[in-house]
Amino acid sequence: MRDLRIGVDVGGTNTDAVVLGAGNRIVASTKQPTSPDVTSGMRAAIETVLAALGADRERVGRVMLGTTHATNAILERRRLGRVAVVRLGAPSSTAVPPLESWPEDLADAAVVAATVLPGGNYVDGREISPLDEEGLRRFLGSVAGRADAVAITAVFSPGSSGQEARAAEIAAEELGPDLPVSLSHEIGALGLLERENATVLNAALHRVARHVHDALTEVLRGLDVARYFAQNDGTLMAADYAARYPILTIGSGPANSIRGAAYLSGLADAVVIDVGGTSTDLGVLTGGFPRVSAAGVEIGGVRTNFRMPDILSVALGGGTVIDGRTAGATSVGYRIGTQALVFGGRTPTLTDACVAAGRAKVGTHSAPDELAAVLRDTDERIADAVDRMSLGKTGLPLVVVGGGGFLVPDGLPGVREIIRPERGDVANAVGAAIALVSGSIETIVPAGNGRRAALDAAGAAARDRAVQAGADPSAVEIVEVAEIPLSYLPEPALRVQVKAAGALAEVP
């Protein structure tokens, strides 16, 4: 029986792993320091819980990994593949060439050459130019042997993907079928430069994905385990799918934490507050998924149109240093166990204030009563942050997780109920282990006649993507449809975003 699964979450400070059994009961868990190379910390966490399982390790059927490998690779410009960048759209779009806003060192590390070739489509599907197959072959020939991957972005490919697909065939002919090719319509939404940026980053990350894959294989040696990666919307994708779309793993940490907190509390709609040593992150769970932020995010200095979970970070944590009568801007971080007053140190922290106020019972020493006064100010800041995230909806429950959860008072205005689930300390790893699998799509559909059929087609495509990513076909449901009308078009049209999600298919 292979009924156990391992959830792993690589955080900034700790790498957590949990083993869940039947009914998602926590069978084993560990917290290991995150290592600078990320990989050894991940390996240590998995090895620790496997050791705790003993002979039962044979029962592990799945491992779900939420990791920062991709983010770190981009931030540190390490292990990036060299990408040949192709944009199809000339004569349009030549006013702003590819990589225009990229930091120079990142472009140097991740790009071997870039070109803009005739091709692309109009919003209504007409071709801007026929795909310049000759020119594409010439460009690919010039990078043969130097490029590790190809990124192809055609104007309006989210609506008309034919040219990108044809260009991928040509790339396979010119550079061999094994060279990874990233197509923009599979990666991002409308907005040429942001989608192109994300597509190039995705192509550059293939080597990182292979490295993580190899490291996992090594630590799981001898076990027949299906692997999944957490993505930024709080859902999972199968490892072979993640190998093609490594950029989707960026930002999975906050999503895991929100999903895990929700699961541990049994709620589908709630505000989640995760209090760590240095900062407090708030997110919102709506209908079982993290609410996403409206703005696209920057990754390593590059603008993308990725939608990340809507997270509000406040510089308050258990290790925040009390500066006179207020909570300061600095934290003792992981040194709290030696530097805080209640642990025999000499630095007054918010943990000391909570002990003084009777909110926390930790440490070996007492804390002076007057420190408790600082909590009036921090309570107000937390209340304001919760209010901002709840968007005026009163009556939402608040789920408190993280090691510094005692910083959150027992009553807050507008909050119906404060829930502090057991094992909230490993909420993020639990979140990775229990997540659903999803697929999403963005396209343009007519607003009048044909809207229904086009929406159905988009829904079917989103379901397909969820199944490809590892979902059980019979369990996939459409969980989100957003329609945004477009202005100044000949025929009324809508930009449509559809997401489908479902439980993982059975392990064969």
Binding site: G89, A90, P91, S92, S93, T94, A95, V96, E100, S101, G120, Y122, V123, D124, R126, I128, V155, F156, L190, G191, L192, L193, R291, A294, R303, D310, D387, R388, L391, G392, A447, I484, P485, L486, S487, Y488, L489, P490, P492, A493, R495
Partner: protein, 334 residues
């Protein structure tokens, strides 16, 4: 949209050099000024970027048709990407940028310009597309200019660079809203200074514009519908903090038209109503409005030209189908 325009303008400035900022009086009075702006769907212009040759094609066509040189570029509207892009276009053409525009804000329809209000004929109207096609029109009036340009724009892929009211510097005198580029720069500078002094961005913006803050709150509802090629709808903003318990409704047609609280009009076109991020003071465009954003609604007086009878006929509440009297925003909040 502004980011894309800023990228292409920045690139043009690096490639072609700096652009002098001039007044109409500084220019040879019989030299031609090109008022330029993109028309079309923002979602389209964000995806199908220009070729970069559009302004040059328009300039060459104008000089051939009118037999006089183009001496400067002007923004048709100072709002959004259209306020930023002409800087790069002037650099590409190697001519100065006029410190003025034809709106002093943004409006959704092409006849809603100061030149129309001042009684000027649209004159020569040109559109250039990404392929390199140029269309030149002599419409009989501003309304026909709007209809013909709209139809051509659709054929061109729903985005095009347009020049209208193409005339000499002397003819444009008194028919444009002067100083708006300088004002835009001073807004940017105020926001930068505020960030450096850790002051609140919204307060700095408000002071620079002489604006009234109508409400600080959260977007509680966004209702959109398309009609006549525009996004129409309304936005509900619920007050937070000092504004808790209050609710403001803003009617939109690509731009923010009327702000209503408790059945009372708090501000309306042609005065300016801006929804800005409460934290950063960044403008939140109609298309990117989403439930839950924390925003502050600012309103401030439009250029005096818009308050004349002709100005109000063109872009007052009635021009957008609202049967309400226009009350200048500073009087409504006196």
């Amino acid at each position: 949209m502004v980011e894309g325009a800023a990228l292409s303008a920045g690139r043009a400035l690096r490639e072609f050099g700096d652009v002098p900022l001039v007044t109409l009086e500084d220019l040879p009075q019989d030299g031609i000024v090109l008022p330029l702006g993109h028309i079309g769907a923002p979602t389209v212009s964000h995806e199908m970027l220009p070729s970069g040759r559009e302004a040059e094609l328009i300039r060459d066509t104008v000089e051939r048709m009118l037999g006089r040189p183009v001496v400067a570029v002007m923004a048709s509207e100072i709002g959004g990407g259209n306020g930023v892009e002409p800087l790069g276009l002037a650099a590409r053409l190697g001519v100065p940028l006029v410190d003025a525009d034809a709106m002093g804000r943004a409006f959704p329809e092409v006849q809603m310009v100061s030149t129309y209000v001042a009684g000027k004929d649209p004159g020569l109207v040109l559109l250039a597309d990404v392929q390199g096609s140029v269309a030149a029109l002599w419409p009989v009036d501003g309304l026909w200019s709007e209809q013909l340009a709209r139809a051509l724009c659709v054929a061109m892929g729903s985005t095009a660079l347009m020049a209208d009211y193409v005339m000499s510097a002397g003819e444009l005198l008194g028919a444009v809203i002067e100083g708006t580029v300088t004002q835009a720069i001073s807004i940017g500078r105020a926001l930068e200074d505020a960030a450096a002094a850790s002051e609140t961005a919204v307060a700095a913006l408000q002071a620079t514009l002489g604006a009234v803050a109508l409400l600080t709150g959260k977007v509680a509802d966004v209702e959109r519908r398309t009609g006549g090629g525009f996004v129409r709808g309304s936005v509900i903003i619920d007050g937070v903090g000092d504004c808790r318990g209050r609710r403001l409704q803003i009617e939109i047609q690509n731009e923010n038209l009327v702000a209503i609280e408790d059945g009372q009009v708090k501000a309306s076109v042609p005065d300016l109503i801006a929804i800005v991020d409460s934290q950063t003071a960044d403008a939140v465009s109609t298309e990117s409005l989403r439930y839950g954003q924390r925003v502050t609604v600012l309103a401030w007086p439009c250029a005096p030209l818009w308050r004349t009878p002709a100005g109000l006929r063109t872009a007052g509440p009635a021009a957008f189908g609202y049967d309400i009297p226009y009350v200048p925003v500073e009087l409504a909040h006196a």
